[in-house]
Symmetry: C2
Subunit: 321 residues, 2 copies
């Protein structure tokens, strides 16, 4: 059994290698560049932990984890084009450093490369893992599409927003865990539980992310507080505020969405607080956290095996254990 | 055994179905739209013919053929963005009809969908077919990248150009044939021969396409004659002309490349003819045709089984049989 930190190092010894040939350099150099930007490697570690919940880590789990991390990077490369984001982890995105065509094609070839790693998995597990991986890949695309669609809508229901978040971020976490579990020999019931755990954890994490953007301690929160508000991003908080605000508050909010005044963040968070959006968000997050931990509890393995996954989940949703 | 025309109809009964769910409509409607634009379905038919060369068509061959046709369409969707092409088969391309972001994401989800069909193939064949499919998918991306790179270079060697054409178009034809052969139970030697047949046929076809663009009968050639010349496209003909022209001719050619004069096509083809580019292209094409037919001949099955593939190849490279 290994802790998150240990697995980060173990995974790095497998992942930090050449994933692409040298030529054409104009195609593969951007892929290599993007992978050097790093990242927390949460998803592949989830895959390894999903495996280790049931058995020792198999070589197959490293292949799956590698495919998952490459897929995540592919989705970031293409999302960055669609979101016109010029920076990723403080460095230039591919379409900015090179050009959009290179970003499209590098993303394509990174997606294709995922399946080479999936294809290294033992034939007995291959169809099941490929099915899960592919279903998830499609869902991540659907999530990105819904996200873009929602940006154009004036109203989005909380239910639809949760569905979008679930597709855009939770399914890959959930599927990483389940693929690991499958490769660890888990049965269907346990696979379903660990998948649900990932879904609920992912949603809780996103609610927290939205919360911290508005109410976080600027010194602890890695990003600029109020970034979502400045960009008029549809977040859990904004959607709920628009639902529960009285007429004056709603009108002020809608007006604020159309301005760029210097006190915009302050005025929006004041309305959020007046509408008890902060308490509501904490409660909603807690609901998903509770469900996630219940899912984990119900997985039929001894509790000692769950220790590190519990630790990682608690760390992600900033919960004391 | 079935002729090309029969297989077109048989394949249509498998392919003309819903490949995508209904929602999100904003993601999947563009995919469905693009598939309705049609096409000759040469590649999937090659897959079926590759199978039928060795055995009756297996259900697996239809899954592979479907994946191949979806992959071809994915590559067209993304290539159209990169080439800024507004029309495809006389209809609007996805990035023109919708927008570039939708075209990126629809292409992604179409690529992912391919692997669902690959995953329907019997486990005994799955790893081999997935390997071949994936290697080819990567090579098609490399071909597109080289094509974009070459457009920026002033000189490209014939060898490099053939490599690019081979990656961009021949490998998918070759791999379609080989995947069909694998699923028909062909051994390694026969698989290699049919793959090489596809590579050589693809290159011959491209030389012919370049030739017809400059020297074709406007009434028989589907496209506008001289289109490549007007666009200064690096073709077999232009690359060879620049190599063999005398100094005056080369200077005139280079000057013509920088103009849009109304007699540009006429003057370029005059230089081509003065340099015997037409005869050279015919010879070069014939060299690849001969090699292709030799490859086909060497496949160890009775010649009666080769009849329809021979017919299709002869039709594609306009050769009497």
């Amino acid at each position: 059994m290994h802790s998150f930190k240990e697995l980060v190092n173990i995974f790095a010894t497998h992942f930090n290698q050449a994933h692409f040939p040298d030529n054409p350099n104009s195609l593969y150099e951007p892929c290599n560049y993007f992978l050097t930007l790093g990242g927390k490697r949460i998803r592949p570690i989830m895959c390894l932990m999903g495996n280790e919940l049931f058995d020792e880590i198999k070589p197959d789990a490293f292949y799956a984890a590698t495919a998952i991390e490459l897929f995540h990077n592919f989705s970031l490369i293409h999302d960055d084009i669609m979101d016109a984001a010029s920076l990723r982890r403080g460095m230039q995105t591919i379409h900015t450093k090179y050009n959009p065509n290179t970003a499209i094609l590098s993303g394509d070839v990174m997606l294709i490369r995922c399946y080479d790693y999936i294809n290294k998995i033992q034939p007995i597990y291959l169809p099941k893992v490929l099915h899960l991986f592919n279903k998830t890949a499609r869902e991540v695309c659907e999530g990105q599409q819904l996200d873009m669609d929602f940006e154009k809508l004036s109203a989005v229901s909380l239910e639809d927003y949760i569905k979008m978040i679930s597709l855009k971020t939770s399914v890959l976490i959930a599927s990483s865990l389940e693929i690991g579990a499958v490769l660890g020999g888990a049965g269907e019931g346990n696979c379903k539980k660990i998948y649900d755990f990932g879904i609920n954890l992912g949603i809780a994490f996103q609610i927290q992310d939205d919360y911290l953007d508005a109410f976080g301690d600027p010194e602890k929160f890695g990003k600029q507080v109020g970034g979502d508000i400045k960009q008029n991003k549809k977040t859990f908080l904004l959607l709920h505020a628009l639902e529960v605000a009285n007429q004056n508050q709603r009108e002020e909010l809608i007006n604020l969405l159309q301005t760029d005044s210097s006190d915009k963040v302050e005025r929006v968070t004041t309305i959020f607080k007046a509408c008890n959006v902060d308490a509501w968000a904490n409660e909603l997050k807690e609901k998903y956290v509770q469900t996630a931990f219940k899912n984990l509890e119900e997985i039929a393995v001894t509790s000692v095996r769950k220790k590190y996954l519990q630790e990682l989940a608690s760390f992600l949703i900033k919960r004391d254990i």
